[in-house]
Symmetry: C2
Subunit: 251 residues, 2 copies
Amino acid sequence: MNLIILTPYDCIGGDSYRVDDNRAEHIITILKLTPGDYLEIGFVNGPQGRGRIESITDGVVSVVAEDMSTIPPVLPEINLICALPRPQTLKKVLITSAMMGVCSLHLVRANRVEKSYFQSPLIEAENQFRYLVEGLAQGKLTRLPEVIVHDRFRPFFEDFLPKLESTHKTPLLKLLADGDESNLLYTVCDGHESRIALAIGPEGGWVPFEIELMQSVGFRRFTLGRWTLRVEHAVTAALSQIELLRLRQSD
Amino acid sequence: MNLIILTPYDCIGGDSYRVDDNRAEHIITILKLTPGDYLEIGFVNGPQGRGRIESITDGVVSVVAEDMSTIPPVLPEINLICALPRPQTLKKVLITSAMMGVCSLHLVRANRVEKSYFQSPLIEAENQFRYLVEGLAQGKLTRLPEVIVHDRFRPFFEDFLPKLESTHKTPLLKLLADGDESNLLYTVCDGHESRIALAIGPEGGWVPFEIELMQSVGFRRFTLGRWTLRVEHAVTAALSQIELLRLRQSD
């Protein structure tokens, strides 16, 4: 936990906040702070700054927010599209998305997605929240990724995505990390693009129909490397390679 | 499990193998194979090929190896150096190392490594084996990374590493992913290097003395990006960025 993330639910009036969960435990047992000490805090979807510990009683920590004047870095817009993974993997994807500054996460139905995954409690936003906050706390970020579940494949790519694209004049670069070995990332992305949609398939991959449909709406295929990766590793790998190209351009 | 990995322990004579653990479960319940069916198999530190299922009885699967003629890809030599992480993280690092074709994994003591980590059962090779095999099975590889625990920091960098380097004439590029924002990977690595040592720090990072010592023996610092990553994500991110540069050079 590199940043203690506070939410409106923690507010007990004015600038005072109270936490009694794993954040309190972290403050007491890992950071070993005591009343009067300061710590780094951040507001969900808001600024970062420092908090002063007012009291620690029976595992409940009261914090007063001060100097909340640090605006978190504005990361380039990445819209991550994942075939809905199994719940254990989804937790990791939620954490990673928040930690690595993903702007929006779209969980879509696909041929190789088991129907039961759509019955998981993790489909509900209230159950995703703690994993997103865990990612923000690790990544020292405060912008919560928007998470949207799409229970139909074709309407997402044919209707939703064009609408998302049209919200800005800047075009959306659409990337499909599917192991096509003829294209490396740098042949489909030069690092200048400020808006990217990145699609990561299910375990077992997209079926040919899905790849064709994605290509028909402008997705460009590339390979992450000579590996067979799990979904959560493919997400990290793709975001890391995109970051390398982007930093290179801004260097 | 994209490849069923067989070890000498599974051999019951000649080309016959017997498995009764999660591999058997995978064959029966996920792949839904029956006697006479074929499946992809690989020998630890050996070739890959196909196996014919001879029998399935009470959760025990007997397989006969046939056509073991596929030589796994020879990946470039990556020697991963990690400050010994907490056991839960070490499991992930073991899996990822095997999955992504790391040649050797060196787990070293560092200032911010808790002493108790060296008492973990995971320090023992026999307890690491299942996580390495899990990684190989995911990555469709068979080469087991060599894992070595080094309980002293300075002797590893001053004595062991020079010996490792001198085993080949090819020089060893030494990289230190520590968040130095002035260097991106491509400024310290051009992708042609066939032997790399990659150092990933502990949670909280290396202390200045450690960084200075590593620099004094030739390590070059770089940043993975505008993030604060966990150890297991830093490993995947660094290997992915190196792979991108390497494939670019061989393209």
